[in-house]
Amino acid sequence: MSLHVDAGHPTRAPMPPSRRHVRPRPGRSFLTWLDLKAAPYLLVSPYYLLFLVFGLFPLAFTLYYSFFDYDLTGTVEWTGLGNFTALLDDADFWKAVVNTLAMFVIATVPQILLALLLANALNKRMKAQLFVRLGVLLPLVTSVVAVAVVFTQLYGRDYGMVNWVLSWFGIDPVSWKTERLPSWLAIATMIDWRWTGYNAIIFLAGMQTIPKDLYEAASIDGASRRRQFWQITVPMLRPTMIFVVLNSTIGGLTLFSEPTTFYNGNVHGGTNSQFQTVSMFIFEQGFREFDYGYASAAAWLLFLLILIGSAINFLLIRRIGGNK
């Protein structure tokens, strides 16, 4: 409150004239310093304090732990890169990697295509626009665990609705939980049900920034609507597409809640780990086997996987959007 005299000048230029007004009272100049120079740092400091404690510290220690061997008796031993080499030889880890990648691809590819088509439909003029958009976004209000609970029942072998519908077409009951590919499909549909509408809304936002005269010019040239969609809409959506795909990559490769709930809350991912993801593998190693070092090393490999996956997808989208 006592700052009103000399806090008047703009931040960047400490003008000599106003300086002169400042009496060499140490309290006053300290307050000015506090207000102009220190305030920005004070304002951002809560975030960085949290970041130090809950971001940087755990990251650094995950790296540190990954060099040690922990066992159930409490002995801790330095192993160097032992955990990493053991992981690369661990069939269970590779199985989790394959499961994660497979579910990611099975879920993401149709999801992006469906979201694009849905966004295109949402982009038309219509009545009750807000209602329609909310309807599309409805899955987002269910918690992941809730989605998984409902779908797990729908995919039940004996009393599930999916097998009942399939039986109309003469298809024998599928054992969704115990077989590998069916379990991937079941989990992929959970992901898609929840996220397709969300991504469609994001695409819609991107579509609305595309100048309409592009379409007018194209239709004068006689380009069909389908052609306009693939040759104008999709390439122009490239920035949005990168956002959506990178988001899905991080989300898909760290998948945990759906497959865990699918196996009644067990992180083993089915009797033969047929749908255990890398996230579940890390959880199991860390908090079921209490092998902290092994879990930490696996976490770093997951991070590497995400970086590689993001880079590949980024380049892929750039190429798809690029060939106009």
Partner: protein
């Protein structure tokens, strides 16, 4: 919006070519069909949740499955609330406390930082902001769980909701969003003018920034609440089954009473009620925030 669509009809008539530019924006029967099917698929699992939650277990495993709600909802909800293994009410209360505390704190922290990054010049500001963006790419949940768990063990916080609240206060997305929002909502001249008038930094935040960025805070708040309500993995690690969050409580039901569908479904239905309330009250803002954020990102 509806007023806009009225003059569209005559224009459609005039457009002759099927690929005409005006025709591109009118909804065809196909569009309507796609949207209708999507909405039905979106709503069905939620509807089915109500159907099963209001039935008995014998009916739930009928073939063909039931399609209409029954009359047992109250009874089933009673069973959930009184179940000795789930501690459902504790879970519900804990989830509310956690989500509310995290939401208020994240919104405040992000609004502070967003103001500094968007409208104050300071050394290292750019680098600090870049650091926020970089950390958003790191899956901290997976990367940090072991050390964080051991930290909680040594603090003797395991089993307490403090252990869930504190790590979730770290939210890079919030800082990023509020920086973007402040940049767009508060012109630099406004801040300079307030300075000339002799306002202190804190005063500018309170009188200039806060009123302008309130919509952005709302969007961030809704997002944060929903995100934290849904959080599953970390609470599962750090909380005990007798003091759970609502998701962990459902997980306990799911693990112990796997075939008692009506019990699990009733618990699930109860757990999404707060989200549905948020959705009904703030649906417009959720969509607006999503779409704005998407274009800027």
């Amino acid at each position: 919006m509806t007023t806009l669509s009225a003059p569209a009809t005559p224009r459609r008539r005039r457009a002759k070519a099927p690929g005409g530019a005006a025709g591109l924006w009118t909804a065809t029967p196909m569009t309507r069909l796609v949207l209708a099917v999507t909405i039905i698929i979106s709503a069905f699992p939620l509807y089915y949740m109500i159907v099963i939650a209001s039935r008995t277990n014998t009916e739930a495993t009928d073939m063909p499955p039931p399609f209409l709600p029954g009359g047992k909802l109250g009874e089933n909800v009673q069973r959930v609330l009184s179940n000795p293994d789930a501690h459902y009410l504790t879970g519900l209360t804990n989830s509310l406390i956690i989500a509310a505390t995290v939401t208020v704190s994240v919104v405040l922290i992000s609004t502070f930082a967003g103001f500094a990054f968007a409208r104050l010049q300071f050394k290292g500001g750019k680098i600090l902001l870049l650091l926020v963006l970089l950390t958003m790419m790191v899956p901290l949940q997976q990367m940090g769980q072991v050390p964080l768990y051991r930290l909680m063990v040594s603090l003797e916080w395991v089993g307490s909701i403090k252990a869930v609240i504190l790590p979730f206060l770290l939210n890079g997305f919030g800082v990023f969003l509020m920086t973007q929002y402040t940049e767009q909502a508060v012109p630099n001249e406004l801040v300079e003018a307030a300075r000339v008038d002799g306002a202190s930094t804190l005063r500018i935040w309170w009188n200039v920034i806060l009123p302008a960025v309130r919509p952005g805070m709302g969007v961030l708040g809704i997002n944060t609440f929903m995100l934290n309500w849904n959080e599953f993995m970390w609470p599962l690690i750090v909380l005990n089954p007798d003091n759970p969050t609502v998701q962990v409580a459902i997980n306990s039901l799911n693990a112990k009473y796997g075939t008692d569908y009506v019990l699990i479904f009733s618990g699930t239905l109860l757990s999404i009620l707060p989200l549905i309330v948020v959705f009904i009250l703030f649906g417009r803002q959720i969509i607006g925030g999503l779409m704005e954020g998407a274009v800027k990102a």
